[in-house]
Symmetry: C2
Subunit: 218 residues, 2 copies
């Protein structure tokens, strides 16, 4: 249970790293517009972690720690395209395992697959994701892997907003989700490090409860 | 000049590996239809190499060998999305360098960039690609990196068809291209290992001279 005891330490450290390099930005008074058209007081670009070898290694080692503590035997690692691929590659490399990756959709023409790499029939796979919002695209990658005959043991991600809808979606699909940190840890570290003030917390918590409706005041 | 002397050995070994795992398929009598709508006697899926740790390591070590022999100082490694990302990640990891990746186009909405990761102004970057056909998409990734203010030193790829148009395109942009193997090595290894016969060579060479016109007999 090595990782269990370290969970808070990892979650706090990861949150601090994301904030310190500007991978996560909190702007309760100047919301971002997400691709989904939601307004949000937070924007998350975990891809920046790839450019900091020390942070990238922390993510890699933490993911490997979870795998070694929770899963006894796995046959392959799969990254969700695009942002999940680099860490999936690093884990596969460190554990000397086959690597696959999963696209969100096939290219229009040609022979491209949803799942790239060698399918292992009934092979046990761990899926690596960057970021969990509703979980919809991550779980569609899981579905694509399952359709090939592989068994998805669980999913790893750097960060989750912790939306209730994501929790429901992962439970429904019976996919254990392990995130290095989450919105709660992030807010508490951000407050401690003075990225936000006490009064911002109410706005930030209100958004998380109703992310699809928040900030759409006309 | 460690790599120079080993170039043929690497190229032959890489070609044999690609053929043996079915990453490259030669069907002179039953052409493939490419995404570009070209008919072709060859189909190349280098992503399969990712699922074979031994081959993946060979690619990684060969790429690192080229970098160490040809480039004295680099600041970052960039993968071309999607298939170039995994090896770019492995090289960045082994060399303890920042990693970036480059999309072929931005998503329609939101704040996605063409170049993901941290831009290093005037930073010297090596670009990692999977496969070179005309070079158009690979060189548009180079352009995207240059527009951010980074310096592209050169590009690495697993395989090139060796089309004249690619050679012209890379020269025009002044980007040195280093491929682990190419169509010539592939055909000679395929012949030697009896994947094809002597009489197939004429068809396969005719295709390479005019890939855009070949096989379009009505």
């Amino acid at each position: 249970m090595y990782f269990q005891g370290k969970k808070d330490i990892v979650a706090n450290k990861m949150a601090a790293m994301l904030l310190d390099i500007g991978a996560v930005k909190l702007q309760p008074h100047k919301p971002f517009k997400w691709a989904s058209s939601w307004n949000a007081p937070i924007y998350c670009d975990n891809r920046l972690t790839l450019s900091y070898p020390e942070i990238r290694n922390f993510v890699k080692e933490s993911f490997i720690s979870i795998i070694k503590n929770k899963y006894s035997a796995i046959d392959a690692v799969a990254g969700v395209a695009t942002a999940g691929i680099p860490q999936a590659a690093l884990i596969a490399d460190a554990m000397n395992l086959p690597l696959l990756y999963v696209r969100s959709k096939t290219k229009e023409h040609g022979m491209e697959n949803l799942v790239e790499g060698k399918i292992i029939n009934e092979g046990k796979v761990i899926v690596v994701e960057d970021l969990i919002s509703t979980g919809a695209s991550s779980l569609s990658a899981v579905d694509a892997l399952k359709r090939t005959g592989m068994q998805v043991l669980g999913m790893l991600a750097i960060f989750t907003y912790g939306f209730e809808t994501a929790e429901v979606n992962f439970k429904k699909k019976n996919v254990p989700l392990h995130c290095l940190t989450n919105y709660n840890y992030l807010l508490s570290v951000a407050l401690e490090r003075k990225y936000i003030g006490e009064r911002d917390m109410e706005i930030l918590n209100a958004w998380r409860r109703n992310p699809d409706k928040w900030g759409n005041r006309k």
